[in-house]
């Protein structure tokens, strides 16, 4: 089962690789990056705005943490924000 959160997270990168992140005050060490992908959409919309659709250019990473949970996170290229997208049970 997948749960979507779309909440900001704090990340740690080492030599360009995602090695850890913090979410809701909990620190997660990344054991493995299972997959990564890139999605770009709605280039005709403003890059950001209050509600509604807006342009996105996202680098996704699916990671397995040291405690064997799987998360999807992405970084928005335009502003560098990291967002936790989904958690898999």
């Amino acid at each position: 089962m997948t749960h979507r959160y779309l909440q900001p997270v704090t990340v740690t990168l080492t030599a360009g690789r995602l090695t850890a992140f913090s979410w809701r005050g909990v620190h997660y060490a990344v054991a493995e990056v299972l997959a990564s992908w890139h999605l770009r959409d709605r280039w005709w919309e403003p890059a950001s705005g209050e509600g509604g659709a807006h342009a996105s250019d996202r680098q996704y990473s699916r990671v397995r943490t040291a405690d064997h949970q799987v998360f999807d996170l992405y970084v928005e290229r335009g502003n560098g924000q990291w967002i936790l997208d989904s958690v898999y049970d």
């Binding site: 997270v9 080492t14 360009g16 992908w37 890139h38 770009r40 005709w44 680098q59 990291w82």
Partner: protein, 385 residues
Amino acid sequence: MIEADHHGVGQRATDTTDDAQASQPAGYQQDYVELHARSAFSFLRAGSGVEALVARAAQLGMSALALTDHMTLAGVVRFQAACASARIRPILGAELAVADPVFGAGARPAQLVVLARDAAGYARLCQLLSEANLRDPAAPIIPWAALAAQPEGLFLLTGGHEGTLVRLLQACRRQEAEEVAQRYARAFGTEQVWVELQHHRLPESTGLLQQLVGLAEAVGLPCVATNGVAHATPEDYVLYDLLTCTRLRQTVDQPHRARPRNDEAFLKSGAEMAALFAGLPWGPAALAASQEIAAQCQVALLQGVCTAPRVPLPAGQTPTTHLRRLLRQRLGGAGGHESAAAAAGARAGRHPPAGAGGVFSLCPRHRPAGAAERHPRKRSGQCRQ
């Protein structure tokens, strides 16, 4: 390494994989040649012109580049001229829309890439495209049997996401995919077929590549990496997506499976491709195969002399007299009006040179504005028939 985000929401990373890749010099790794690239001659299927593609390849330090427009070779002269200026070796080919029997009659055609290895292969490719366009100018398709009938001088690449193998694998029809790959090998020979690996950084990319490699190993075919290029730079993605929507006759707000999901189909350097395939055990071999294939493709059209296509003539007719007769028939009725024919002839390019009427009658009216200045054969070449 982290720093606070300017917006106070989330965190901004100071070091990303993309930043690290971007710090590598252009042309860092040069043992990669792009063998699958469409230009604007692939009408509404690409976001850059041939000159932009060649300029980008030169910037990246590529030694060669293939032009594989969709169902046409119309761009090859300009491509070769641009390559000559940039000192890049041109490789000629096309992305073919092939009716594969595995999908049944009426199914949408699969896309295969064919590269001309020599002059005979190039001639065969011209013939296949001409026949397909004559059969159905609006939606030309090449039957698989026609492609397989004379494979001499051609290399076959199995195509990207619209290739038969990928479509079958995505439909969980692995056994049929294997049978199709075996059919390719029987028709072209195992030395002339490569399973094409494209990594557009989509969610399904890695899994699909692993399936393709497994398939290739099962049937004894080698793999080659390409990027299925549709635009020269990431910035050209917007135009490519817009043109795709135009081709699909829809607005940008409407989703469609044929639309690009990111801007990764740009012309990438060897270093960028190596980074994409890093960690995949068969990646280096697939990248190196691109150069091996490129080294075997030796077709040069611009040798200072342009040979016009031969048009079958009725007995006793010269190209000029035949052209006049056709103009009378089409424009002036059966009896014809000499004045109408003469006027049409004048509009069509004045009086054609002796021996080349069939060619020069139509070309001037259809040549894009400014093409004469860019067209090398108009400056330095001469035509004969």
